[in-house]
Symmetry: C2
Subunit: 343 residues, 2 copies
């Protein structure tokens, strides 16, 4: 333990057995080893402070205990919630979690996936909404397939349609449920912070909301749908844009909570009160944002659980050809940010 490393060979020598035997004892191989030698080896390992060299093991086994997790931005509480779920599972399995931050760049994503392949990562969990851009999807699919060909498993959160297992919220139904609740509350005119145009998740939520409106015989005016970044600042800025041209809406639906947060900030800066002047609803029910005032009406998603289940899919599953899809249903939680319209 003095300095540097203790190798298995040293353990074997110290125990007076062969390298093979020592190895068999250490990693509890299927092969039988007599109790006597077993004890001697474990004692030696203990005494010398043996710690197996993970690289050598990976090389020999051609499989590591690394699990990748790709998110756009770990400081975004949406991603960090999911990350916590993934972490919980990898931690208790004794796996090593590699965190890759893509900053929404497909190129970075590709680079990280290659790195994970180079490390013979066992699995990777991809979080973040799928783009609707065909080209980038094709490239991502290619990467995923390459990963799988090399024996790795892939699971996605919120990214259906890729050649990998998926756990995804039912965005359409969730948004539609929410819309119906808001209609029941008395709202007739809505504005929507719809996020980026090329994001599958954002689009599904918009569609779901829209279709519930149609079902109730309501129109959604074109000028009441505004697109922008899927972030807090995107929500802020989108709201400013919306209010600059003016709106007749009594309720603002931001397709995710972080945008709703930005929206509420913008409205406050404009001197408007929520929900008195305008109701605001979000989507995700991010734990960290539950303390906003007024408390956000939103669609609850079990984010941490989703991360955990994705990890489970990636790590337990047989590498099947048919991607398994777990759909989780969101539940509308009505809080203080929405109220019957005063107009």
């Amino acid at each position: 333990m003095e300095s540097g490393y203790v190798t298995l060979e040293q353990v074997a020598e110290h125990a007076g057995v062969s390298l093979a035997t020592a190895s068999r004892v250490i990693n509890g191989s299927t092969r039988q080893v007599s109790q006597r030698l077993r004890d001697k080896v474990t004692a030696s390992a203990q005494e010398l402070g043996y710690l197996a060299n993970a690289s050598a093991q990976t090389l020999a086994r051609n499989s590591s205990s690394l699990v990748g997790l790709l998110v756009h931005d770990i400081s975004d509480p949406y991603f960090s919630s999911i990350a916590a779920g993934v972490t919980r599972h990898t931690e208790e399995q004794g796996l090593v979690l590699v965190l890759g931050t893509t900053s929404r760049s497909a190129q970075t994503e590709g680079r990280i996936l290659a790195t994970l392949r180079a490390h013979r990562a066992r699995a990777v969990v991809l979080v973040g909404s799928r783009s609707t851009d065909e080209e980038s999807n094709r490239r991502l699919s290619e990467e995923i397939l390459m990963f799988r060909r090399q024996g790795g498993q892939v699971a996605c959160v919120s990214q259906e349609g890729l050649p990998a297992d998926t756990v995804t919220p039912d965005n359409h139904t969730g948004a539609a449920d929410l819309a119906r609740r808001l209609i029941a509350q008395g709202h007739r005119e809505f504005a929507i912070l719809a996020g980026p145009t090329d994001l599958q998740t954002a689009r599904e939520r918009l569609d779901g909301f829209h279709s519930a409106l149609s079902g109730a015989g309501l129109e959604l005016a074109h000028h009441n749908v505004v697109h922008g970044a899927f972030t807090r600042d995107g929500g802020y800025e989108s709201t400013r844009r919306l209010m600059a041209v003016g709106t007749d809406a009594t309720c603002l639906f931001a397709v995710n909570d972080v945008m709703a947060t930005g929206a509420m900030a913008a409205l406050r800066d404009l001197g408007l009160r929520v929900p008195a002047d305008l109701s605001v609803a979000g989507f995700d029910d991010i734990p960290t944002l539950r303390d906003l005032t007024p408390a956000l009406t939103t669609v609850r998603l079990p984010l941490e659980e989703m991360g955990e289940r994705a990890a489970l899919l990636a790590l337990e599953g047989e590498p099947s050809d048919q991607p398994r899809v777990i759909t989780v249903r969101g539940e509308v939680v009505e809080r203080e940010s929405t109220a019957p319209p005063t107009r």
Copy 2:
């Protein structure tokens, strides 16, 4: 590329050169290789889709590109902000970030550090407040030294006193500055949510606050200091306890923002208004929590930058014996959660 892997040997063979030459070309060795062979090798590598096996490289070089990051809980926005900073640096250096979540368990921490050693991680960044418990500090120091003996570098955030480089906030001064501002605002009676008793950071902030009070000739009543978990729920619960026995304080200082968040929630539940009935101040200025209403008066820490600088320390520094300490000074930001007392 068909399936499985392409090895360097295959590339060499395809290019009609030796393994050694191929290796030299691939990793741009110091040794000269003629342009002709160089081109042939790169072309072959490209054509075959060669990707170096990271484990083999680690084994051969006895050094990997893994960097560990240890936090208590990644879904806590304090940690995820710092993580974002660390990530930024590792990402642009092409390093691989391993995220370890300790759940505040020294045992888990030890386990993860051992895993990182087994992987020959190049460096590790430890985030989170040092305990004041001597025994666990001794054990952690031992782990760190072992890590360093094996060629790894260690840097800490908010954990001074360990045998490793550190970037730490000046908790004492920050809290004292805050106290003085609050006194200037007219407050004379304070209550403190002091966090866990055994947390160095919490204690320093309490001490700093306390000493500024003393400096102004003010007392801090014993019953106005309440301890509890360093979390949102800890803050909530501590506040309930505080209010249950009653307090004469006009201002409540929670030693970090997440506790302050819980405090504000508790006060709201009790029907008290902030700052009208009671002022509340925090510490950290966590970006995600800036949208709370009322906006929190707090001490701003450049969390992301702190993460980045810790990564820098761990990765640039010479392994020196004398731990380098970077102290960052927090800046008081006065917002809406504090106001002159009405009583």
